[in-house]
């Protein structure tokens, strides 16, 4: 039998010690206009723990060399460190094999790669690509470009006023001409967690492949591509505490094998003559040119950091914080939340009566509070709610209840200035 003190100690271990976590992020220690920084723009980019910063510095100070080609020790070290990240990423999203993990610049490039290498060769006049009403521009524009070129149609899964996708309508849209469904796992503008597992199942019943834009999901939820059974999944390193300029495209190996390369260049070939080039095997076939080596290695450090905290614990802490923030917002006069889906993660999009979001942002900035204002690269979402823009506070696991209180006080100041 365990003693009482042992039980208490274990409970402490389970609890999320946010103040200890904050100490890992040097940027959070600073003051803005003499006030503590309250960073609530995590959906745009997250801050980096010391371990990630150290990994970047360590690479450039000790191991800097190009990968996959040198016979010398530095190249061997950098190659190993870079490929180690691939292994960690495979584990992190539960992929079957390292070769299914393609390094890209970010989720935007992941979507473009699927558009150009997977969809483009098989898209014909009159075919359809299905996306949702809450997509980021990066999951709209690549499809528009493709549809325009091929005479295909971009169709939209509608949503409710709460910001939930209409699954009944979705089923009806899964017609015989649909060549791909591409949907956000979590909406960056509304915070909605979409029922992607169910949506993938419905698409697969009609043999339609699915790409999931996981840019806003990977930092907040446990991602399991095997359980989702998605065909492609893409996300960005910088939104999950890693560096900018590196991200991942996961693809089922059978699909990736059959796809032509995305870009031509070094590293993606196994032999070149002027008559014929033989492409490299997976995953290198899709990785032309020298990649963001330091970024890739540091992304590995970010994965280690997240796994040490535990994605389930992160999700549960953030869920409580979002609940607290949502309740706090309901007490604020003249403030309306945009996006009130039952399943949400991290995001509080809001408007203040009679005050433009840009003015809200400037006044909060003076209080040391960083939020995003504007259309969040999701103009169709703004049009749907008939708003020019919203203010958006987006949470990370290093945010605290005190910071939510500071945000609420800041918003009260906004209404005061404009009263």
């Amino acid at each position: 039998m365990r003693t009482a003190s042992e039980i208490i100690r274990n409970e402490k271990d389970l609890a999320f010690d946010v103040h200890r976590v904050r100490a890992d992020f040097p940027i959070l220690k600073q003051k803005i206009y003499g006030k503590p920084l309250v960073y609530l723009d995590n959906a745009a980019t997250t801050q980096k723990p010391q371990a990630v910063i150290d990994a970047l510095v360590h690479f450039y100070a000790n191991d800097c060399a190009n990968i996959h080609r040198g016979v010398h020790l530095l190249s061997e070290r950098s190659t190993r460190a870079y490929e180690d990240t691939r292994t960690r990423l495979k584990r992190f999203i539960h992929a079957a094999d390292e070769k299914e993990i393609i390094f890209v610049r970010g989720a935007t490039e992941g979507v473009n790669l699927v558009a150009q290498s997977f969809v483009r060769p098989r898209l014909e006049r009159g075919d359809e690509i299905l996306i949702s009403a809450m997509e980021h521009h990066s999951n709209i524009v690549p499809w528009q470009i493709l549809c325009e070129e091929k005479g295909a149609r971009l169709r939209i899964i509608p949503m409710t006023q709460q910001g939930e996708l209409r699954l009944d309508e979705y089923e009806g849209l899964l017609g015989p001409r649909v060549r791909l469904v591409s949907i956000a796992h979590v909406s960056n503008a509304l915070g909605t967690v979409n029922p992607v597992r169910r949506m993938i199942e419905l698409a697969h019943r009609r043999n339609i492949p699915v790409l999931v834009d996981g840019a806003q999901a990977a930092p907040h939820l446990r991602v399991d591509v095997a359980d989702l059974d998605c065909d492609f999944y893409t996300f960005s390193g910088h939104k999950m505490y890693g560096p900018t300029g590196v991200g991942v495209l996961y693809g089922k190996s059978a699909l990736l094998e059959a796809m032509p390369p995305y870009q031509g260049g070094g590293d993606m070939i196994s032999s070149v003559t002027f008559e014929k080039t033989i492409y490299n095997r997976l995953p290198y076939k899709f990785e032309a040119g020298t990649p963001n080596i330091a970024g890739g290695i540091a992304l590995g450090a970010a994965i280690d950091y997240l796994e040490a905290l535990g994605m389930e614990r992160i999700a549960s802490y953030e869920h409580e914080l979002l609940k607290y923030a949502t309740e706090t917002f309901s007490q604020l006069a003249g403030v309306r939340l945009i996006g009130t889906a039952k399943e949400k993660a991290s995001v509080l999009s809001f408007v203040v009566d009679g005050v433009h979001p840009h003015d809200v942002g400037t006044i909060l900035d003076q209080e040391g509070i960083a939020i995003r204002t504007g259309h969040h690269c999701a103009q169709p979402v703004m049009d749907f709610f008939n708003l020019p823009a919203t203010a958006r506070a987006s949470l990370a696991f290093y945010n605290t209840r005190e910071e939510i209180d500071a945000l609420a006080a800041g918003i009260r100041k906004v209404t005061e200035v404009f009263s």
């Binding site: 003499g34 433009h356 003015d359 003076q366 020019p388 200035v417």
Partner: protein
Amino acid sequence: MPDLRELYQEVILDHHKRPRNCRKPGDANKHADGYNPLCGDKVSVFLRVEDGVVRDIAFQGSGCAISTASASMMTESLKGKSETEVEQIFERFHDLVTGKTDAGDVAGLGKLAVFSGVRDYPVRVKCATLAWHTMKAALDESQETVATE
């Protein structure tokens, strides 16, 4: 630290709440549209110019307090001015909000001097100048939408 009250002065808040000349005149002979993709601000500026003089000027649009107040006060200060005078006021206003001239150097700007606080908020300069650039495009009879990005 810049003082918030310098940016959101009473007169600016007043013009934001009750914008002047916010209408579409039927007899305008010059018009242009402006758009700030950063914050989604949209403005249309209408002018009636006769014999080189601005007889009427009005605007319509949606935007933040700074951009709405700037458009509103612009219409008040430019009505009755010659195109040459408009040009001069535009230059002075632009220099004031971008910090090219001293905050105190507001000769000829009248009430527009309240926008001197904008210089401390570089990302807000575009809000203050959107209506002005749009007005300029209307005078120059540019057909393209003015974008501040």
